[in-house]
Symmetry: C3
Subunit: 469 residues, 3 copies
C-alpha cells in the first residue's frame, strides 16, 4: 500500500466525522425515545389506580401510532422542504433533493415530499428518527391532561391526526425552513424565531393541545364541588411519578444536547450543563415555594418543578449563559405552580397531571427567555442571519419580537388545528367515556384489563386455600 | 514539534476510528444489558403478585450466572475460532490468534480457545461484552415461559448450562465462523445463513427453549379446565409490563444498530429506522387485530405486538427496505397473536408471558423474511461471498434455502440440547416446585421473601397503632 | 478549494478527537445521572410502603440540591486547583487558568477558583457535569441508611453541606491534584493514592457518612428487641429493589468506563469488562453464601452482592487483570454480607438498606485490592509518576501504603466533617422525626402526601359505587 495522501486522509476524516455525528444524533434520539417511558410513568403515578391500564395504554400506543402517522405524512410536511444537516454527512439523496416546498422556501408553510419514506440515506434515516421521537414527545403530552376520562378510540384517532398534521406544520415553520425561521432574513427580526430543542415546537404544542383537550373533555366527576371549588384527587403512586421524572430528565440530555445534530459542534457540552442547572433550579424553587406556601414539600411539585425548568431551558439552552439558565429554571419552578393554580382555580380546567402548566406555561416562558437572555455567544449564521444571537437584554429587540411572533403563531395554529381535530374525533368516536366507566375506572370498560389485578391489591394470604396456611 | 506527515495523521485517524467503533459497540452493549431490566419487568408484570420475587429473582440472577458461565466456557465455544472484527481495532492478540477451531474453519462446529478469558485486548474485551449480553438476553427468555412453577435451583443450574453450551454452539455456527455461515461459500446458498442481530441466534434459541421448558414443566395449576379449556390468569401489573416493553424497545436500538460492530458502517442508521418502524407496525397490527377479534385493545397484546415486530426485524434489519421492514413488523404483530393462541389452545402448553410466541414464532418469521426480502442494498462480501445480499424475491432463492437450513439447525440443535439439559437438571434438582408452593406463591417457599410485603398490600391505616389515628 | 495540507487535516483530527472525548464523557455522565433513579428505586424497595414518598423525595431532591451546592462551591473546592483533562480539548479557559490552589499545588488541600461557574468552555462544562453526578451519587448514599426516620428539612440541609464541603475536599485530594494524589511524587509511595472511578472518593465517602448518620439517628422503633436482638423489617417491594439494582449496574458502566475522560484511551473496554465480571462475581458469591448460610436465595442479597462487586471494582477497575477483577468481586459479595451482619448485630446500628455495608466495606476493600492487585498493565505516568501501576503483589508495596493512607484520610476527614455537619443540622432542624410520625409513616407528616394512595392499596371493588357492580 502506498502512503496515503493528505487528500485521502482528509476524506477519511470527513467520513469519520459523519459517523460520529450520526452516532451522536442516534444516541440522543434513543434517549428521547426512552422519554416515552418517563411520560407513561409520570402520568400513571399522578392518576388513580383504577385508570392505570388506560393511562399506560395511551402512553404506549401513542408511540407506534405516531411513528406510522409521521412516517406516512408528518415527516414530509415537516422536513420535506429542507435538507438533512450537512453534519449528518454528504448525502447522495438528501431530503432536499427528493423534495421541494410548495411555496417559496423562504416563506414555506409545509414541505411536500418524503411521504411514506423508503430507503433513506443514513443521514435522512437519522434525521427521521430524531424528529420522530420529538414529535412523539409532543403528542404524548395531551394524554396526561385528558386522562381518566378520554375514550381510547378517540385518543388513538386524535394522536394519529396530531402526528400527521398538527405537529409537523408548526415544526416546519421553525425547523423545516418555514416562515417563522425566515423572520430574520426576511424582516430583520433577529435570527427569526429560534427554538433550539423545542420549547415551542414540542412543549407549547403539546401543552396547548393538553389545555384545550382538558377543557373540551370537561373535568373529571368530583373534581369541582358544586360551588366550583377544586378538589384534590391524589395520584396513586409517588414511586412512578418520581421514576418517570428521572427518566424524563435522563432523556432530556439527549433532547437538548443532541439537538446540535452535529458531533463537531461542541456547544452540546454547554447545552447539557445549562439543561442540568436549569432543571435543578426549577426543582428547588418549586419545592421551596410550595413548602413555604402549602407547608409541605410535596414530591409531586418537586417533579413538576424540575420538568418546568427542563421545558423552559429547552428553547434557549444553547444561547444563554450559565447564570441565565439558572434564572430561567428558577422562574419556571415558581411559574409552573402559579400556572397550575390558575388553570385549576380560575379557568376551572381539570388537568390531572398538570401537563398544560408544565409544558405550555414553561414552554412559553422559555421562548420569551430566549428573546431576552440570548447573549451573543452562539448561533452565528443561524437561520441564515450572520452574527451571533442576541436577545433584547443584549441589544437585539427584534429577536424578542421574533420569539413573540413564534408564540402567537403556535397559539393560533396549534390551538385551532388541535381544536378542529378534537371536534372531528368527537364526531366520529365521542371523546368522553360514560360516567359509569369513569366512576368504575377506565381499565376494564376501555381496555378490557385491570391495570393491577385484584389479587395484587388484596393481601395474598386471604386467597390462599385455607388448608395450606 | 515538526509538522505531522500524512502517514502520521493517517495512523492517528485509524486510532480514532478504532476508539469510535469501540465506543459505539460498548454503548450498544450497555443498552442491551439494560434489556435485562426490561425482561424482568415485562415478565413480572405478566405474572401474579405471589410469584414476583421469584420471577424478578430469576431475571436478575440469570445475568451474573450467565456472565460467569459464558466467561468460563461459552465465549470460547462461540468465538474461539474467529477473530475480533477489524473495525474494533488492530489487535495485538485477537481471539483468532489465541485460538483455532477444532475442525476445518469453513465447517466449524465450535471454537476451542479463549476459555476463562484473561486480560483481553480492548477489541476482544468489547466483543466479549457485546456477545455476552446477547447471550444473556437469550437465556432470560425461558424464565418467562417457565415462571410461577420452576424451582429456583433448577433454574440456576439450567441457565448456567445454557450460557455455557446451548447458546454458544449455535451462535458459533452463525456468528463465530461456523458451518451455517459457510453455506454460501461452500454450497453456494446465497451468503449462507445470515442473521444480522439475532432473530435466530438469540430469539429462536430463547423462544424454543421457552416452549420446551413450558411443555416439560406442564401447565400451572388451574390453567386448563378438566375439559382442557385454557383459563385466563391475568398478570398483576400493566405498569410493569408496559415499562418493561419500553425498556426492551429502548435497548433494542443497541441490539440491532450496534450489531454493525463498526462505527464506520453507517448502515446502523438504516438499521435503527427499520427497527423503529417494524416495532411500530407490530404494535399497531397486534392492537387492532386483538381489538377487532376480542373487542378490547388489551395493553398486554400491544406490548407483545411491539416485541414481535422487534424480534422479527432483528435478523433482516440491515438487509431490507423500509417498506419491507414495515411489512415484516406488521405480519409479526398478527402472527404473534395466532401463535400464542395455537400454543395455548392447540398445543395446550402454558406459557404465562407468551415468550415462545414472541420469540420463537416471530424469530422464525424474521429469518424467513430475510430470505425473502433482502433487496441487494447491503451485505457485500458478507460471510465471504461477494455481492450484496438478495432474498428469493430479489432473485436469489439460495438465500432463502440458507435461511431455512438455519431455522432447521436451530430447531434440531437447540431443541435437543435444551431438552437434554432440562432433563439433566430435573434429575439433579427437580424442575417443578410442589403444588403447595405453587398455590401459595413461590416467593416465600423458594426465595424466602415476599415480593411485596403484606404491609404494602393492605391499607396502612389498619396497622398503625390505634392511639395514633 | 485547495487540497488540504497534512497540518490542516491534523488539526481537524484533533478537533474530532476532542468531540469524541466530550461525547464519550457526556454519555457516561448521563448514565451516572440515571443512577439517581437506581438509588431511589433500590432504597424505596427496601423500606416500608408508609415511608415511600419520603424515601423517593430524598433521593429525588438530593440531585437538584446537590447540583446547586456543587455549582456554587463544591466544584471550585474540588477542581479549582487543576486543569481540565487534555483529552477534553484544547481549552481557551481551562479550570487551571481561572484558578490556583491556595496551597502549594503538590500538597493541595482544596481549590479556590471556579465558584458559581459561569460560561465555561465545553471541556470545563463536561468536566463539571461528570464530577457533579459522581458527587450526587455519593451524597445519595446516606439517605438509604438514614431513611424511615430522618427529618426532611434536616436531610435537605445536610445534603447541601455535603455537596459543598464534605465531598469536594476529599475529592480534591484524590482527583483535583491534592495531597493524596501527590504521595507518589512527593514520598515515593507508588503513584500516590489512586482511585480510578471512586471506591474511596464516592463510595467510602457515601458509605461512611451513611454509617455515621445511621448511628447518630439511632435505630428505627422496633428494630432491636429490648435484649438488643435485631428484628427483620422487610422492605415493601422486591420489584423496586431489583429494578434499582439493574439501573445502577447499567449506569455503572458510565461510572467506571467513562472515567478514562478520554475516548482515545481504549482502556475503557477493559474497564467495562472488569466491571461486568466483578459485578457478576459479587452477585453470585453473595447469593450462594446467603443461600448456604440462611437456606434461602434472598433476592435482596443478590442485589447487594452485585452492588458490592461494583463498588469494590470501581477503584481498581483499570489497573487489574480480568481474573483479579473476578476475585475482587467475589470477595466483595461475601464481605458485604459479613459487614452487614456486623453492623447490625455487633455495632447495633440500624441501616435499613445496607448502604454502609455495600459502600463503605466494599469501597475500602476495593482500595486495598488496588494496592494489592494492580498488575503493571496500565497507568504509566499516573499522578506524575513514571511507570505503570503495580500493587504489593506485583512488587510495589508503596502503592499499598498509598492506598492505606487514602483510606485513613477518608475515615478521618469524611468521618469528622460529616459528623460535624450532622451535628450542625441537628442543632438547626432536629435530625429525627417524632415517634408519632415514624410509627404512622413519614409520608404524610413530612411530605404531606401518601406515597401510595389508599385507593391503590385497598381492593378497587370495595370503593366502587355499589349500584355499578
Amino acid at each position: 500500500m502506498n502512503a496515503p495522501t493528505a487528500d485521502q486522509v482528509s476524506e477519511a476524516l470527513t467520513n469519520t466525522q459523519t459517523s460520529l455525528s450520526l452516532i451522536w444524533t442516534l444516541c440522543a434520539a434513543f434517549l428521547v425515545m426512552f422519554m416515552q417511558a418517563g411520560f407513561a410513568l409520570l402520568e400513571s403515578g399522578l392518576t388513580r389506580a383504577k385508570n392505570v391500564a388506560h393511562t399506560m395504554g395511551m402512553n404506549f400506543l401513542v408511540y407506534p401510532i405516531g411513528a406510522l402517522g409521521y412516517w406516512a405524512v408528518g415527516f414530509a410536511l415537516q422536513m420535506g422542504g429542507s435538507s438533512a444537516p450537512a453534519s449528518l454527512g454528504a448525502d447522495p439523496r438528501p431530503v432536499s433533493e427528493i423534495s421541494v416546498t410548495v411555496l417559496e422556501k423562504s416563506w414555506g408553510i409545509f414541505g411536500a415530499h418524503g411521504f411514506f419514506l423508503d430507503q433513506p440515506t443514513p443521514a435522512v434515516a437519522t434525521l427521521f428518527i430524531f424528529q420522530m421521537v420529538f414529535m412523539s414527545a409532543a403528542i404524548t403530552i395531551p394524554t396526561g391532561a385528558m386522562t381518566e376520562r378520554w375514550r381510547f378510540k378517540a385518543f388513538a384517532a386524535f394522536s394519529l391526526l396530531m402526528s400527521m398534521f398538527v405537529y409537523p406544520v408548526y415544526a416546519n415553520w421553525v425547523w423545516g425552513g418555514g416562515w417563522l425561521s425566515a423572520l430574520g432574513k426576511q424582516l430583520g427580526l433577529g435570527h427569526g424565531h429560534l427554538d433550539f430543542a423545542g420549547s415551542s415546537v414540542v412543549h407549547m404544542t403539546g401543552g396547548l393541545t393538553a389545555l384545550i383537550g382538558a377543557k373540551v373533555l370537561g373535568p373529571r366527576h368530583g373534581k369541582f364541588t358544586p360551588a366550583g371549588e377544586p378538589v384534590g384527587i391524589p395520584g396513586h403512586s409517588v414511586v412512578l411519578t418520581v421514576l418517570g421524572t428521572f427518566v424524563l430528565a435522563f432523556g432530556w440530555f439527549g433532547f437538548n444536547a443532541g439537538s446540535t445534530l452535529s458531533a463537531m459542534d461542541t456547544r452540546f457540552s454547554v447545552v447539557a450543563l445549562n439543561t442540568l442547572l436549569a432543571s435543578a433550579a426549577g426543582a428547588v424553587t418549586a419545592t421551596f415555594y410550595v413548602w413555604h406556601r402549602f407547608e409541605r414539600p410535596d414530591v409531586t411539585w418537586m417533579c413538576n418543578g424540575m420538568l418546568a425548568g427542563l421545558v423552559a431551558i429547552t428553547g434557549p439552552c444553547a444561547f444563554v449563559s450559565t447564570h441565565a439558565a439558572l434564572l430561567i429554571g428558577a422562574v419556571a419552578g415558581v411559574l409552573v405552580v402559579l400556572a397550575a393554580l390558575f388553570i385549576e382555580g380560575t379557568l376551572k380546567i381539570d388537568d390531572p397531571v398538570g401537563a398544560s402548566a408544565v409544558h405550555l406555561a414553561s414552554g412559553t416562558w422559555g421562548i420569551v427567555a430566549l428573546g431576552l437572555f440570548a447573549n451573543g455567544s452562539f448561533g452565528d449564521g443561524a437561520n441564515g442571519v450572520p452574527g451571533a444571537v442576541r436577545g433584547a437584554l443584549y441589544g437585539d429587540v427584534g429577536q424578542l419580537w421574533a420569539s413573540l411572533i413564534g408564540i402567537v403563531a403556535n397559539l393560533v395554529y396549534v390551538g385551532s388545528c388541535s381544536a378542529l381535530c378534537l371536534w372531528l374525533v368527537d364526531r366520529l368516536f365521542n371523546n368522553r367515556v360514560s360516567l359509569h366507566a369513569e366512576l368504575r375506572g377506565l381499565d376494564l370498560p376501555e381496555m378490557g384489563i385491570e391495570g393491577y389485578s385484584p389479587e395484587y391489591r388484596a393481601p395474598a394470604r386471604r386467597r390462599a386455600p385455607p388448608e395450606l396456611e
